[in-house]
């Protein structure tokens, strides 16, 4: 049954080859190209070309991984496998198409195809009730997003009489920008996962199979960012307040999501929240770039746009790595709960090493590529503090604080994931018996890591190759980029030499200790000889001290029958926790509860008797007749 998926991968590869062949020239010489297929017009400008490359790399890595990831699912029927394969190709195609559309209506159609196909992909393990529920919720929330896009289309068409993107420019020139931008941001932001529209993400990612969640998190949510970028492309004039607004949303999204990631015990959910956090970072960068453009500060604008574009690629790469490694762990242990894992580094070292590298990158630490884009964000915010009036100086000051808080919190989240889930001693039997996965299941991650290393060592080339895209956002970027290049070159050399220095010191250490005696022994346990795996921090307790600081924002409910004063000799206790996404609880739950309530009320009519239904039909027809006669319709 995997044949269908392999075939799909081949089709995708062909699609990728074709689209990249079209896109690369656009990236290189900055000239937009387009071709028509019937009424559909596929246009490739630098931004599209950039997205095409991003999408293709992400999807192909995912599909190659999927070939071996799907092996344990041999019991699936041929039909199910076929649907999955077709949905995957459709998703790939529709994502490519979304970036190539030049008017709102065709974009909406492609958007819808993209949502539907990803819905089918999430539904892969549909035999699980939870997966079905999550998929349904995803489906509904995507359509709320689509509704906002539709609204935006109507606003656009109503005001300018045209659906094309060029009309946006017209609109922005005449009307307050937010009137159009708000529904667009809500629609695209739903896909991207800006707060409070992120609520589908942490559910859909863990429910989907790992190759799909890699693609969804690495690639598909970037389409939301693409939408926002595309919209901004047509803006002009002073949009500084809009920039501050986006930036604020980004700050809140980033901080909130990384706090949520810290308290999650489900590895894939942690990764999903980390995706939201990175969307927040992108939002911050977009905000800064818009701000920079508005106050005519080319340095800030250029740094901002470069950070946005680079971080999109970077995040795609390390998110693919992380989700696929998490997939490998899941296949090896059949659990995603960090409290049940542990000790994997000694059992599947290659997979975990890749995960650690991915984590290093996503925390924005040197010497990997995540650092390059975070460096640019910091640079933009420091420039913002330096080169603007007091007001924007303070805004950028907030950005600076947020960036380093997010950086520090990300370190907590990922040291938790690695330290609790992968290092130390295994906590349960499945983790104890985990074994390394095949080379083919590790290949896509290693490829991605390879690209990441290249991007970290020669960031200046990466920036040069997307300079056309940056130019389309900020026309004067070339001068700034020219002065930025030496810094980026130094940064690349720094990254490389940092690794080199570690290697050199390691070699020296090796030489210095060649005569020293080396023994192995158990970890120091104060002389107590019956140590067990319970004597390790758990995922819950590792997060606890952070949770206590931020308790109003992140609520962790602990369930344990408390020990009171008289309980000198306590009876058996169980301690469990569950985490509440406060925003999800306050935005998504009430309407759902309302709908549930309404449906329960409606169930009164649902008697199960054929005669009542006929009665309903009869009443309905009469009602229609009456309404028609009254001339209401």
């Amino acid at each position: 049954m995997r044949i269908s998926f392999i075939l799909a991968t081949m089709i995708s590869a062909a699609m990728a080859a074709l689209s990249i062949a079209w896109s690369v020239p656009v990236l290189v010489n900055g000239q937009a190209a387009s071709f028509a297929y019937g009424p559909l017009v596929f246009a490739i400008d630098p931004l599209t070309a950039f997205m095409v490359v991003l999408i293709n790399i992400g999807v192909l890595l995912g599909m190659v991984y999927g070939i071996s990831y799907l092996r344990p699912y041999a019991s699936k029927s041929f039909m199910e496998a076929l649907v999955h394969a077709v949905a995957m190709v459709t998703l790939h195609g529709s994502m490519l198409a979304v970036t190539m559309m030049r008017d709102m209506v065709s974009l909406l159609i492609m958007w819808e195809i993209m949502s539907m196909s990803s819905f089918l992909l999430v539904l892969f393990e549909g035999e699980k009730a939870r997966t079905r529920r999550v998929a349904l919720s995803y489906f509904i929330q995507m359509h709320i997003g689509a509704f906002f896009l539709l609204l935006a289309t109507m606003v656009l068409a109503g005001q300018t009489g045209s659906y094309t993107f060029e009309a946006m420019g017209l609109f922005y020139a005449q009307k307050p920008a937010w009137m159009l931008f708000l529904p667009l941001f809500l629609g695209f932001g739903m896909k991207a996962g800006f707060l409070p529209l992120h609520t589908w993400l942490p559910h859909a990612h863990p429910a989907a199979p790992s190759h799909v969640s890699g693609v969804m998190s690495g690639v598909m949510i970037k389409l939301g960012i693409y939408g926002i970028l595309r919209t901004i492309l047509f803006m002009h004039g002073d949009q500084s307040m809009l920039g501050v607004a986006i930036l604020s949303v980004g700050i809140i999204t980033g901080l909130y999501a990384i706090l949520q990631a810290i308290v999650r015990n489900d590895l894939k959910r942690l990764l999903a929240y980390s995706s939201v956090e990175n969307i927040g970072l992108l939002g911050i960068s977009i905000g800064m770039a818009v701000l920079g453009t508005s106050i005519h500060n080319d340095v800030i604008a250029t740094l901002g746009w470069t950070a946005v574009l680079l971080h999109m690629v970077h995040h795609m790469l390390f998110k693919v790595v992380l989700f696929q490694s998490a997939g490998n762990i899941y296949v090896a242990t059949h659990t995603r709960n960090l409290n049940e894992l542990g000790g994997l580094m000694r059992r599947m070292p290659k997979t975990i090493t890749v995960f650690v590298l991915g984590a290093l990158a996503i925390c924005g630490l040197p010497p990997l590529n995540g650092f390059v884009s975070e460096f640019l964000m910091y640079a933009a915010s420091i420039e913002g503090m330096k080169n603007s009036g007091a007001y924007f100086s303070i805004v950028n000051f907030f950005v600076l604080i947020t960036l380093c808080l997010i950086g520090g919190l990300a370190i907590i989240a990922f040291t938790k994931a690695i330290g609790v889930g992968m290092l130390g001693e295994p906590r349960t039997e499945p983790a104890r018996h985990a074994t390394e996965r095949s080379w083919f299941m590790r290949l896509p991650q290693q490829i991605a890591i390879g690209i990441m290393i290249v991007m970290a060592i020669v960031p200046q080339l990466m920036i040069a190759s997307i300079s056309a895209v940056i130019r389309s956002f900020s026309p004067n970027s070339d001068i700034v980029l020219a002065s930025l290049m030496p810094t980026m070159t130094s940064l690349g050399i720094f990254n490389a030499s940092l690794v080199g220095a570690v290697v050199v010191v390691l070699a020296l250490r090796k030489i210095a200790t060649r005569n020293a005696q080396r023994r192995e022994g158990p970890t120091w346990g104060c002389g107590f000889t019956e140590a067990d795996a319970r004597l390790q921090y758990t995922s819950t307790t590792y997060a606890d001290s952070t949770v206590q600081l931020i308790s109003p924002v992140v609520r962790v409910h602990a369930h344990m029958h408390a020990l009171n004063d008289a309980d000198v000799f306590p009876h058996a206790r169980t301690y469990t926790t569950d985490v509440v996404d406060v925003i999800e609880e306050s935005t998504i739950q009430p309407p759902i509860a309302g709908i549930n309530y309404a449906l329960r009320r409606l169930a009164v009519f649902h008697t199960g008797s054929m005669r009542t239904y006929i009665l309903y039909a009869f009443v309905f027809i009469i009602a229609i007749a009456v309404v028609t006669i009254m001339g209401v319709i």
Partner: protein, 504 residues
């Protein structure tokens, strides 16, 4: 139950042998009668015919009375009994020892776990395999500290159930220092050997334990010592109290990283214990107390030296004590840390300064006085907050009180008679046959109870030792609940409990 008082020699025949059922109801009735009653000892030993003879001694702090009841368990009979601990938690440790040593199965005991021996010793399990209380769910982590600690402390294992930095529950497992003191005591040996053994029960309570032992023996010999000897012993006991309290204050400062306090107070402990060196040739007072006599008496020259030492100590101690108890960063660590409520202290039967810092007035010197303490001029302080601050500040108050008291005793010593004791001339006599004596002394940690039982030939058949730590270790465990794990060292040091006194 038979009523008597501290150091009374009672004939075994005067204690009625009850059936276990009657024993249970009698003890419970007696406990119910008065809130000031607590169990000071409950132990058993094998009769020559293999039967188990058990004694339970209760103390009433308000009336200075002791009560005793006993029962027999036939070797062939059932060993499954309902427990006292089910009603009064404080009995738990005694019943666990009975279970461990003699195989008595207490059916409804809430915490039937080993005290000194390895768990399930018969099957060759190691001492480390202890059935710890654990919180299930996989989200709480455990921290195991010991038996080898950071710093040189004695061995014990502490198992914390933690949620992050907070401790949900602490369980303490001891028994690493089990030497079999009680067995060695009755092992045919000379009185001197036994005294030396009593000196070694707990190194920091040498005077206290030796005095309790010596008192018991003297009582069984139906002899007395002179007033001067009694006063000297009281001075030694109070000196020990001062020395250890100062040492603990220093250690508490070290644990909160207040270097000045730790260094100054640490240096102050030395002159106090050095005085013992001058007095009796051993810094911890070993070799001072003997049955019927003190091996070296406090000569006028030594008295002067003691006054001088105290003056000098006070001069250096006052400023640092004031500074320490006014330094916000130190107080911030002590206050509201490791709280044990009065209710908890009562439930677990805390004694000594652990009890006094949690609002229970328990001081043998006042409630069951012996010798010089009958004069009632020693001051007892009680604090109510039950936190580390209370225990620390209580130490300061007790140091002050002891200094005052030593000065009073020194005055009295000048006029005291040195030859009104009946044991002076013939220090070793026969012990009274078929008798029992309960000797209680308030060591610096709390009540030390030595219970001796002789057979018809006047030979010691059982000598039971109860160190205050037996009860108070549980207070430490409770004080950690809901506290930060990083406060464990200061909670631990604020009690400074004895490992060997518990393990015996």
């Amino acid at each position: 139950m038979l009523s008597f008082s501290n150091l009374d020699v009672i004939s075994l025949d005067a204690i009625p042998v009850l059936s276990y059922g009657t024993f249970l109801t009698t003890v419970l009735d007696h406990m119910k009668a008065n809130d000031a009653r607590h169990c000071v000892n409950y132990m058993g030993y094998r009769l020559p015919n293999g039967d188990l003879e058990c004694f339970c001694v209760l103390a009433d702090d308000s009336t200075s009375q002791l009560f005793v009841a006993r029962y027999h368990l036939a070797a062939s009979g059932t060993m499954a009994l309902p427990s006292l601990s089910a009603h009064y938690r404080a009995f738990h440790i005694f019943e666990r020892v009975l279970w461990e040593n003699h195989g008595v199965q207490f059916t409804d005991h809430p915490w039937l776990k080993p005290v000194r021996y390895p768990h399930d010793a018969a099957h060759g399990a190691t001492i480390d395999s202890y059935p710890f209380f654990r919180i299930e769910g996989g989200e709480v982590h455990e921290v195991g500290v010991g038996p080898i600690h950071a710093g040189v402390i004695k061995p014990g294992h502490f198992r914390f159930q933690c949620t992050g930095e907070d401790v949900v529950h602490l369980e303490i497992k001891l028994g690493y220092q089990h030497r079999g003191i009680e067995r060695l005591m009755v092992h045919p040996s000379t009185m001197l050997q036994r005294t030396v053994l009593a000196e070694s029960i707990a190194g920091d309570t040498t005077i206290g334990h030796t005095w309790a032992f010596v008192n018991a023996m003297q009582a069984l010999m139906r002899g007395t010592v002179s007033d001067a000897v009694e006063i000297e012993r009281a001075i030694a006991l109070e000196l020990e109290r001062i020395a250890i309290h100062i040492g603990d204050l220093s250690a508490l400062n070290l644990d909160v990283a207040y270097q000045l306090g730790s260094a100054v107070l640490g240096a102050l402990r030395t002159p106090m214990i050095n005085f013992f060196q001058w007095w009796c040739g051993n810094r911890f007072g070993k070799g001072l107390l003997r049955v019927g006599q003190n091996r070296s008496s406090l000569t006028p020259a030594l008295q002067d030296q003691l006054v001088e030492t105290l003056d000098d100590m006070e001069r250096r101690y006052r400023p640092i004590a004031d500074t320490m108890f006014e330094l916000p960063s130190v107080l911030a660590r002590f206050e509201r840390t490791g709280i044990v409520t009065t209710e908890q202290a009562h439930i677990i039967g805390a004694v000594g300064m652990a009890a006094r810092s949690s609002g229970l007035r328990r001081d043998v010197r006042r409630s069951h006085p012996h010798g010089v303490y009958r004069a009632e001029d020693v001051q007892t302080h009680v604090l109510h907050s039950g936190d580390v601050m209370a225990r620390t500040y209580l130490r300061k108050l007790e140091i002050d009180a002891s200094i005052t008291y030593i000065r009073i005793l020194l005055d009295r010593l000048r006029t005291a008679s040195r030859d009104n004791g009946t044991l002076e001339d013939r220090p070793v006599r026969e012990l009274a046959p078929r008798s029992m004596v309960v000797s209680m002394v308030e060591g610096w940690r709390g009540e030390l109870v030595h219970t001796s039982i002789t057979d018809e030939h006047g030979a010691l058949v059982h000598h039971s030792v109860k160190d205050p730590s037996m009860h108070n270790w549980f207070a430490l465990a409770l004080s950690l609940r809901g506290n930060e794990i990083s406060d464990f060292p200061i909670c631990n040091k604020s009690y400074d409990l004895s490992y060997c006194g518990h393990d015996l």
